[in-house]
């Protein structure tokens, strides 16, 4: 049998296929389609302290090999999460990770404290890269000073594994990955969506109510892969790669470039079983190539003179 496991510090993941926040609901929506516990981990939808209604409709536009969304972190807030969602997800036999968001640093900190005390949430993903909110979000993730500050403050209170989710809308993503590492993050995940836009030409107006939105799907894969490769060569903490992964081959591209694990996002909209099929595909690839440990794949192109 092949070994698919990897670790972030002392947190073990049984395999490297996770789901991307905001594309996997609370996991329970997938119960009809497959056994969610088979995955290495699941990232729940972006959570904030308070209830949020998100942005006005329309929030979605299809683009060539991708989509734009401007959901804007709609969620019912941490109280609701604790009382209604946590009880349902805490018994999944996989790492259940909360994606935390805020408008101010204090919001992130308070939220991190709350998540910290939830026994069955072994890690939090600090989202400083949401392009769809007026305050916070990407503003933190595209400014090195505020990025450092929010990571530092959250790190002070959050004692479990801290994953920092990076924005691709920057000149040098390496800079931000290094800041996360410096400030004690246990891992970085990338990429969040690229800021994009679409116009409905027949109506002569923007397709999204917010005009701009976040681009995801296969269209972004080459950019995401490049960034993951850059970051994997710049930091020592594990890198979680995502952006347009639809198939096992896509996932393997990210791992060959240096990602220890991947997140499957938009693909789940098109095929709810995409993540578990990707997991199976990775396993098959390893069997075919006679690779027994997934670690041999991670960063392969950086080790070999290829």
């Amino acid at each position: 049998m092949v070994n698919l496991g990897f670790s972030i510090g002392d947190l073990y993941f049984k395999n490297p296929v996770l789901t991307a926040s905001g594309t996997f609901g609370n996991g329970t929506e997938f119960d009809d389609f497959f056994d969610v516990s088979r995955l290495g981990g699941i990232l729940l939808k972006g959570t904030t302290l308070e209830n949020r209604e998100g942005n006005p409709y329309p929030r979605m536009a299809e683009t060539p090999s991708g989509m734009l969304n401007s959901v804007g972190l709609q969620n019912k807030g941490i109280d609701y999460f604790e009382s209604e969602i946590y009880p349902k997800v805490k018994n999944y036999d996989t790492n259940v990770i909360v994606n935390i968001n805020g408008s101010y640093i204090d919001d992130y900190v308070s939220l991190a404290e709350r998540i910290n005390s939830l026994e069955n949430i072994p890690a939090a993903e600090l989202n400083i890269s949401c392009p769809n909110v007026k305050m916070g979000g990407m503003a933190f993730g595209t400014n090195p000073v505020s990025a450092r500050e929010v990571i530092r403050e959250v790190r002070k209170v959050y004692r479990k594994k801290l994953i920092v989710k990076l924005s691709p809308n920057v000149t040098s993503i390496i800079e931000f990955a290094r800041i996360a590492e410096d400030e004690g993050a246990d891992s970085v995940s990338l990429i969040n969506t690229l800021l994009g836009m679409a116009i409905d030409v027949s109506k002569m107006k923007p397709s999204l109510a917010t005009i701009t939105g976040g681009l995801s799907g296969p269209a972004v894969k080459p950019v995401a892969l490049r960034m993951v490769w850059q970051v994997a060569n710049a930091v020592k903490i594990p890198v979680i790669g995502m952006g347009g992964i639809m198939t096992a081959t896509d996932a393997l591209e990210f791992m060959l470039a240096g990602a220890s694990a991947v997140q499957v996002g938009t693909a789940s909209f098109i095929d709810p079983q995409a993540s578990v099929k990707i997991l199976e595909g990775i396993e098959n690839f390893m069997i075919q190539k006679g690779i027994t440990d997934i670690g041999e794949i991670v960063g392969f192109i950086n080790r070999k003179s290829v």
Binding site: G54, R59, F269
Partner: protein
């Protein structure tokens, strides 16, 4: 059974007109859990322009043959590819999705109002009513006589009235101007069609305090409640039209 994703075989793709089509699909599992107003998410293969699935209502279900139908109009690239599929081809679906109409009881006076391709979810609703012994009035609006389709099917489910925008068949003008609404006091109205039509039916229902359910056609990415793209602005905040809808009670909408 719950939601499922499956490749289903096409039994027939009937060309009603250059614009309108009916795909009949062979069910795999039992279809007993299908409810009127629900929809399926269709994967369109072979089109670089359709990255996401396309939502289509369940038009008709044959529980004996274990088949069901989708009634659709060519709106763009996706539906145009669907229009070219042939018997024997397979189609990948996620189904059944969404909320359903509240099937009325026997002695309620009911009107079904459909406009254009929006008539789609109403046939199955009518048939479910028939099973309870209720024969609804059905008011169907079309742009013009050339676009009138499937009326005979609806006649099997209820008493059909027609309007066309140009008056070529039935009464002229929009459905809400139809004399039927002046003559009859309905207990319940169920409606699906262009948003402008649904909104005018809605305001008629509000004014006359008539129970009303509408089926929204919001843009969807996933169709099963995980992307939060398809929200409708309701009195309970933004709700997903794919799981809290597409059928909404008018009282819930901020219309």
């Amino acid at each position: 059974m719950g939601k499922r994703t499956e490749d289903l075989i096409i039994i027939e793709n009937k060309h009603l007109s250059p614009e309108f089509f009916i795909l009949e699909l062979s069910g795999k599992d039992n279809l007993a859990d299908f409810r009127p107003g629900q929809f399926v998410q269709v994967r369109v293969e072979g089109s670089p322009e359709t990255f996401l699935r396309r939502p289509i209502s369940i038009y008709d279900v044959d529980f004996v043959k274990n088949t069901f139908k989708l009634f659709f109009q060519i709106a763009g690239k996706g539906t145009s590819v669907l229009s070219k599929l042939k018997a024997g081809d397979s189609l990948n679906l996620i189904y059944p999705l969404g909320t359903s109409f509240t099937v009325p009881e026997k002695n309620e006076k009911v009107l079904l109002v459909g406009g254009g391709v929006g008539i789609a979810p109403l046939l199955f609703l009518g048939k479910c009513m028939n099973e309870k012994g209720n024969i609804p009035d059905i008011l169907l609006g079309f742009r013009n006589s050339e676009r009138i389709v499937e009326v005979d099917q609806f006649r099997e489910a209820g008493k059909v009235f027609l309007t066309t925008e140009d008056g070529s068949v039935g009464e002229k003008g929009f459905v809400t101007n139809h004399s039927l609404l002046l003559q009859t006091k309905y207990d319940k109205i169920f409606c699906c069609g262009p948003e402008s039509m649904m909104k005018s039916v809605a305001s008629y229902c509000r004014k006359n305090s008539i129970f009303c359910e509408v089926s929204l056609e919001n843009l969807m990415a996933c169709g099963f409640g995980v992307c939060l793209c398809c929200v409708a602005d309701t009195v309970r905040g933004n709700l997903c039209s794919c799981i809290d809808g597409p059928v909404f009670n008018l009282n819930d909408l901020k219309w």
